[in-house]
Amino acid sequence: MERLRIFAARLRGLFRKRQFDHELEAELRAHLESLTEENIRRGMNATEAAHVARREFGGIEQAKELYRQQRSIQFLDALAQDLRFALRGLGNRPGFAMVAILTLALGIGSTTAVFSVVDRVLFRGLPYPNEDRLVSFGLLAPIERDEFMLGSGYVDFRKEPGPFETVTSMAPGTSDCDITEQNAIRLNCALVEQTFLPTLGVQPMLGHNFTPDEDRPNAPHVVLLSYSLWKSRFAGDPGILGKTISLDGNTTRIVGVLPSTFEMPTLAAADILIPLALDEAQQRRSEPGRVLRTFARPRPGINVPMAVAGLQPFFERALQGAPPEFRKEIHLSIRTLRDRQVQDAHLASWFLLGSVFAVLLVACTNVANLLLARVTGRQRELAARAALGASRGRLVRQALTENLLLSLLGGIFGMRDGASALSFLYVHSAPRHSAFAGSSSRSARYSVHVGGRAHFRCVLRPCSGPLPASARIADRKGCSCHNSPCSAADTCVSADRHLAHSSRRCRAATPQLVEFAKRPDGNAD
């Protein structure tokens, strides 16, 4: 309680500086005058009286300084002072400030942008429980990069899924569907099996998953809504369950709403889930049946190679009837969902990240050099400050504040850079349905969040800049950034042969990234 009161009092002292100074001045003056008068009364002449009064009082300035220290929060007070000084310093050398800030902005912005993109590929988990136990399985053909199964085989396989605990399937991609009532809109509908959500480990946020009965041919029409559709079209109505909409002319009942974090394993943007309603008899009849995307969770203790071995007999059997040339081209594949989503962008992402880190490193080194040059020019000023009583710690602190301010400004501009680079990437390299562009609000929110993380790291690094050792630190730790993958990398190449290498890689990597950006839901879906 008492501490709080002291803190509050000091906080007041911080903001009402001028008034407090004024009052103190008046108080001290009154004290001195009283002392002088007293001395005159004792028979001294005016000059002598004032002189003795001063001696009795002691150092006026020391008293004031002590008083100020007692009055406010030292740390904040000094910080404000340092910041003012740093701003003035930057203003006095606009050329230096501009170059340093631009360099940092370019470095930080580019790293932020690229990190936001590759974070999803490299670091972020998928939004499913035990996502590493979730696999995509099926056949791979030269024309098709992702696993699929054919309906005729699948309807039998799902009854006895061998190495798998649960299997599920969905129709590839999404299909257009329309809400045909007032304010008709076209939506993306995904056809999924009744086992789809349980296999992924996802619970609807409202309502329930499709029942087996609802997943039969000619069953009454039911749907699950995506969170964003529920919010936008139905204003987040909590009483939505059981209501009907007219979907493609059919009266359709809403049985549930998906959680906001839900994401299709194919990364397709789906507004509505509809039961797949596989007609077993018809699938068998119409051999090979329809193409399905198939996902599964292996039984406990079964890893991917074991699952492949377990599935092999079934696979052989399924291909018995196929012509030999066809059989040669097709093979069995099981891989984690993450691998399916990331495809070969994994390596490209690391290269890309590495190259933008190199760019940030170069930016940091440049700024550190600029700062070193500036410090050399400021030795006289530093010496003067030290002579006037500034302690070593105080000087270091001043330097740190200046550089933090510089990094902060660079960071702010970098954020803008990064944001525009990101929107450029989204708009120009991602088609409407991709994971990057599809759920734009989500990815935007996400990228800012991730950006913040990368950003923080990048911003803090260069602030170790001014001290002599800092160049080395910056060198070793190296933080880096990016704008459009190569342009920034290219600029730095001229500076460093070593980097030319990563830049070339970067150039090679970029088309792949763009390709990846197009891919996630796109390809055969």
Binding site: L28, A63, L66
Partner: protein, 114 residues
């Protein structure tokens, strides 16, 4: 030769100020300084400037309150007065001070006796 004047012991200035205000009622900084000099019969060398940071410290802790007013010779001055919390603090500090001095007296007396 004047007797050597003792420096104000670290931490005792607060007690001195509180006790002065307790004995004299509201006083301004100059008044406190005069009173302290008077009572200590110039045995204590009070650097009067250091009084003000101490007054501020006591005020921040809520032990004294201040108000602007007119001094006896009609000068604008800030008057300090003891608060309820200050009175309590004074009591506690006086007690602990007395314990301390008693202890010191016993100790030193023992040394002399030996």
């Amino acid at each position: 030769m004047a007797p050597p004047r003792g420096e104000v012991l670290q931490g005792t200035l607060d007690l001195i100020v509180l006790q002065t205000l307790h004995a004299m009622g509201p006083l301004h900084g100059y008044g406190i300084a005069q009173r302290v000099q008077q009572v200590s019969e110039d045995l204590l060398k009070l650097n009067q400037g250091t009084l003000y940071p101490a007054l501020l410290r006591l005020e921040q802790r809520g032990w004294i309150a201040s108000k602007w007013g007119a001094s006896e010779n009609n000068r604008k001055a800030k008057f300090y007065s003891l608060t309820r919390a200050g009175r309590k603090q004074l009591l506690a500090e006086t007690e602990s001070w007395e314990r301390m001095t008693a202890l010191m007296a016993r100790l030193l007396g023992g040394t002399e006796g030996a």
